[in-house]
Symmetry: D3
Subunit: 341 residues, 6 copies
């Protein structure tokens, strides 16, 4: 049986100066499109999975351009509601060395922010679907968006569809209190929980027990403890935690851990020279969902997800444009970067 994965959330117009130029140096912006759940859908489409992205976009040409970009990568867009006032925008200035990347959001009043549950018929959308994915950004867009999320989760459960969620806490969108309350209500429908090293603390106040999370192996124990607490509280099937070490805006170490309720599977760690870091977490989610819907063993699953997201850091734009073969080659050990002729 084919897998069909539906993701739901916001896709934004991303405006970025070329290269390492600063915002106030430029008279050109790169114009691409991206957003947590859209990025996951593109990842999956690139892996050959039937992937559909659901959102609401204005009827004008810029809204259409976002749809066109999704279609280009093979993402199904037929249930995207059209209407509303504007598409969310984010401005991205790429950092280098000690200078961090900078994101300015201009996403308020976007079509998806002002959408209502009436815009989406989940029974129809989930026709034939086997997996549903969203991130913590979507319910953070407002009460309407949270309500739509909840409806989608319920519809998914009713149809026996697996649900994954990347906690993805964004402090500019809501407070920790609000996040904790809303997200807790959604977690009961979630089977696979993805988080980075801070999300569990920010959203649910879950900290690693009896250890100050600082360095080395201690860290591993801390992450295990966080994963276990998440599992214990919400009953997830899987908890995945990404482990980023930010050396500078140019160099990061990147790894992750998968917990299946019994064992903890740690991936290899990659030393990455960064081309574009945005979407790194989403590409991990895309890789993880791919490996889970294809029934990879836990160690293979986490290696695939981390290799996929390692590669994303070398690719411009939010979307991870890599194939299964490319991910498997890296996961299988070839990170030498030798020319493929």
């Amino acid at each position: 049986m084919n897998n069909k994965v539906v993701t739901f959330g916001e896709i934004m117009l991303r405006l970025a100066p070329n290269g390492y130029l600063r915002f106030n140096q430029v008279d050109q912006f790169q114009a691409t499109y991206g957003g947590g759940e859209a990025n996951v859908a593109v990842s999956l489409a690139n892996y050959g999975v039937d992937a559909e992205f659901v959102t609401k976009l204005p009827a004008h040409e810029i809204g259409q351009a976002a749809i066109n970009d999704l279609r280009r990568y093979g993402v199904e867009t037929k249930h995207i509601a059209r209407g509303g006032e504007r598409i969310g925008i984010y401005f991205l200035e790429k950092g280098a060395s000690q200078r961090p990347s900078k994101v300015i959001y201009d996403r308020n009043h976007s079509a998806i922010m002002e959408a209502t549950t009436a815009d989406f018929n989940w029974d129809e959308i989930f026709e034939g679907a086997t997996w549903f994915h969203f991130t913590g950004i979507t319910p953070a867009l407002g009460d309407n968006a949270a309500a739509i999320c909840l409806e989608a989760c319920k519809a998914a459960k009713a149809k026996g569809i697996k649900v994954s969620c990347d906690l993805n806490y964004r402090k500019k969108l809501w407070t920790r209190e609000k996040a904790g309350q809303v997200m807790a209500g959604l977690m009961e429908y979630v089977d696979v929980c993805i988080a980075n090293e801070e999300d569990a603390a920010d959203v649910f106040g879950i900290h690693a027990a009896n250890t100050d999370v600082t360095k080395g192996e201690v860290n591993h124990d801390g992450y295990k403890d966080v994963a276990k607490q998440l599992k214990d509280r919400f009953g997830f099937e899987y908890v995945a935690i990404t482990l980023r070490e930010s050396i500078s805006a140019s160099d990061n170490n990147w790894a992750a851990m998968l917990y299946n309720g019994e064992d903890y599977f740690f991936s290899k760690k990659y030393a990455v020279r960064i081309v574009d870091r945005v979407g790194g977490g989403d590409s991990f989610g895309g890789g993880l969902i791919y490996s889970l819907v294809n029934n990879y063993e836990p160690q293979a699953a986490i290696e695939f997800a981390v290799a996929a997201s390692c590669l994303k850091h070398t690719i411009e734009g939010d979307f991870n444009r890599v194939s299964v073969a490319e991910v498997q080659s890296l996961a299988g050990g070839d990170g030498s970067g030798r020319v493929q002729r």
Copy 2:
């Protein structure tokens, strides 16, 4: 005595595909800044006039970039209020031949739209000023903006500052009824009224008497009649009307008329191959204000204003980047385009 001209309104980020590409063909946008009153301020600064632009802009780097662009051309920006959520944006797709240019506005919720009268101290702003200019776009931004305009007009009058207004009716911002009512309240403070061939009808319901405005000389009579009605109703010192003939998106004819309450002064007509048509009307306003603050005779004034705006059509971006010498050369008859070595 030096002249100092203050203009007030919105400046937006303008995002445009390169060349003649369509919105959904591109992954780069040209990023420049513009807006009716800002464009006038830049024109005047380029002519050596002390020009100041007043608005409200968000505190972030994109807001700063708009300010930097104004400063680059020598416009004073010190009274620009900082704060609010976002800078207005407009997307511009350049037309060619039979394909019209297309503008998508994304300006709602901008800092200036949500500004209040408390953001501006007009007594301080008008210190040393001799002229104030705004357009019909600004009061159309909302009741707050209209209230600020009114305060500015009153403050200007109280200080003996001349006031000019370009009617600039925008149907997406308000209805004709609302426009007519609000603008009428402002007109009593206005000395110089600028309009295109449709504004007087749209805003004030003023149509040319006993003639169907169609072609040739009849047109001239129609415009005279409209100017006279405007003058009679509001007591303007000058009424200027621009006369555009749109042959296609690539070719326009361009001329204007100035009425000083006694005589009607028609300019030469230019056949223009268009490079960038946006800001054409504003460059006329800038040229007219320049010639009036320098006490040009009416015929010379209208010739300067039309030559200035003719040149604007050959320049990329909203701003008219021409010097007094360049305008005078064209107004004086040299439109041969021979290389200036």
Copy 3:
């Protein structure tokens, strides 16, 4: 009932210097994709018609990029065969004024040229289709391609699908003799024949009777005669002939005629300032098919088709990126090019 149009042919990588630069001046090429039947499919998809393009493309990333570009505009690509050695390429240098545009073909040995009838299952492809379109370029690609065309035509007829063909004679691909022979064999399946002023003569040796086709009204009679001869010989339902007057590489006049076996319908003539002339004929085909599948009256049909292709001349790339509303606005008389705000 929805219409579904299938087109079949070659899509090539188009490599073009930017602006008006010559081939040997540049170190960048614009890389887009296009080809007669693919261009028609994109036109139709932009008009909201279900459009599918069928071809064969190599399995590598450049072949995929061609598919992605089609998908971006909503064209169905699921029956595109993958395999073969290469994608056809054409180099395009844009002309200006007296300097003509220049095309260098590098299309030999392309995947579609070396495809066989085994690559396509027309019964499956035509599932639900109502219209099939190809051009004279496809059978000119070689005997295999001609055989596939013939199979497709037969399958279409068997299913009651309308068939249209743009004669599109290309002297670099085959001789007039070969063209005449092969095309005659295909014409019996064709309902709608599209040609420019030279195709009928080049392919079928059909010339206007008793007149030297030169200027003005005489021309009209000549075109009528050619259309009638085509109809009489092959029994087409419609014959459409495009009328291009090449003033220079920058300026063309553009019009067309439609013959329904009874009357001759001449469109308006447009004076076009050219942005990109390549794909002009295909956009006419796309417009004509759209209007015919939507049962436009003949005069309305030819006006729509000509307005659509007039607009194409203002758009970069082979594909015509315009909407029904835009075409109708021009066909309805608004060629003023005034800014659409």
Copy 4:
């Protein structure tokens, strides 16, 4: 016998904003190379003539880049002296419609301006040469440059090499008095004199007799008279005069006349949509020399030269990148600009 043409003068780095942007709008300049005599050499090399360009350039990489650009088009560069302080630069802002192109020279102190006769061994340079060309710009560079020109002319005459000169008066480089005096001294070595409609008056005070040069046929008589006076005074074999009508920076009419001492041969007149007008006169010189060294009849010669330079106006950069076949096609009457497939 093969022809070998030597040209001598200055080649400059040309810095130009992209498109129609103004100098103070840009953060990129197009960097190409050009200069009157270098342009002629490139024209000839493109026509398959052995062409050599002689100048002096600094030893650094920018000097080398100028040489590389000449080599790219097949111009021999082996006698270019290396040394001196700098390469001359000119900034070019492209005009459009009523806005003229603008040139800012930054050429003082260039290597060629400060070169001396010791830098060039004309006996060696002229080995095998059959033609020598220079323009009035070169002696205008200073007394040293004028002295080198004189030495070159003498050496050419001594070897029986034909000499051509384009008067090319540049008022920023010298006064009319100085020009008249220096150029008169060089003219005795010149066989073919090229001038535009003003050069003869500026340099030699030669005006059309008994006529105010204004319009139409009168003009023709005026040009004839000027050519005859030039011939009578200096004994030229040929006098060629280019006839430019500047309608605007976007549109020019272009034609020329050739006088062989007996008859006056007027070319066709071309209405040109300008892509890049700089180098237009030089491309005429290149075309004329080509046709004369190939012994074209006078009418054919002037048609070739004018068609060549007509095409130059459609090509970016100083250099005329066209082939003999392209020029002949236009001279032969095909200015339709139809796509060459």
Copy 5:
């Protein structure tokens, strides 16, 4: 009381190939503006300090573009003299890994090089100023420039304005002997002396005592000794020395030391991945002046200056476009480069 800092020197047009392309590979140059003292002024303006830059620039549009670029960043330009022949130019090719960056100067005969003391009225310029800064490049431009520097220094001292100087020895502009003599004459007016590891030796023959300056801690002693000798000889209030370790064109280590006559304050050392190294020293000067006019403690001052210049290495162009908050964040320890959302 507000601080106002005046800097004086040359601003040049900087022409650089894009990315890592070499000079003879390109047909585009990035065109920006920069120069030691201009760079310092921009740094300070970005920090909110009233900063004014004084120089002489030609009256033409390229001169104006340099001024516009300064204004864009808020630098006061009203005392820039206009006139002279040309703006200095430098060509910059960016290095990578083992290939060094290369600079070709074309700065002779620039307006500022040929300016005289009559061009500047320092009493007027220094109205309200609290600090004056220049570098060793300016007096190296020639005797006139040195005389202007001296006048400026004397005027500054007479008004109680602090004076800082970055020694900045440039061997292409003058000999060590000449530099030593002229600079010594200026040092008596200088309060704050900035130097890199070689300047003191090149200009004043001051070497570290009894040690071969090679590695590690020894180095620190050497720098201390040089700073002390400078202080002892010229009585500076502060001596700052930058410590660059060039690993390759892509990687440098960067640190500095400040000596206040009593103690030696060493900054943190940053390992920098270089985006653009030019202007690195000037950004240190800008940071140091900022921290001193704001009365930072010595350790905080040197940390701010080094963090500021560390960030400059990640920014394209001569100018350091960073805010006080960004510098403080890095100086305070956050060099992780994590995305700022």
Copy 6:
């Protein structure tokens, strides 16, 4: 006596996305030219050696553009045969970090692939030549190409011209068996053999004796053994082996060894941050030939060759655009990357 080096092989059009963009993300390709032997010719021309490149290219403008690019760098092109159907193309996607660069070849049916021995007159081509160079790619193009290579080798030997060959095994062009057989036949004419760490095994089945080539000094022994076996089998004068350690697509270590039949000379090892890795091996060949024709001592020769190719990794495009002075500076120890002012 001057040296003249002739190289023979294929030059291809290289199409590469800008920066690190992937193939299916772009609508622009960088268009440059390159190929093993052409790259060597350009290296040598840049070093001042008379270098000629021989191939066959189609007569059209893209073929001409390849020639123009060679001429630009001073390579003699007069014996390039013109004709055939197409120029080979390769698509290059630049990798970064763990993502490898990817090459898609579209070189079949190229003019040089379909050339025959009749296209080249080696007696004439080798007039005055002292060195002939080819790579294993050329005979791999097909039997015709191998036959031309053989003819060239014989002609070279007959004239006492030294012959060098870079083994350069390409598995997509031929099998190991075929390669081994054809190459063995050519080796008898070869004096200098260049190989990387895998070529000897791939082509001739030569592996390092009694050691698993893994790390450190063992490696050195392995390479020595391979070199000795090559020498013993074919009697080469020199065997050079390049030693690349691929850490990632961004970072490589680079070194080489030269064996003169007596001693083994190992170069320094460079840690390279890669700008463009393609052509790295060819630049080694170019450096080696330069040092051998100039009779460098073996250690100096291998240091020059490795420094040359180290620099190539920092340069965009296939061609190594460096001077002798630049290579010598690095070979002499200055890899600090300090700005050269």
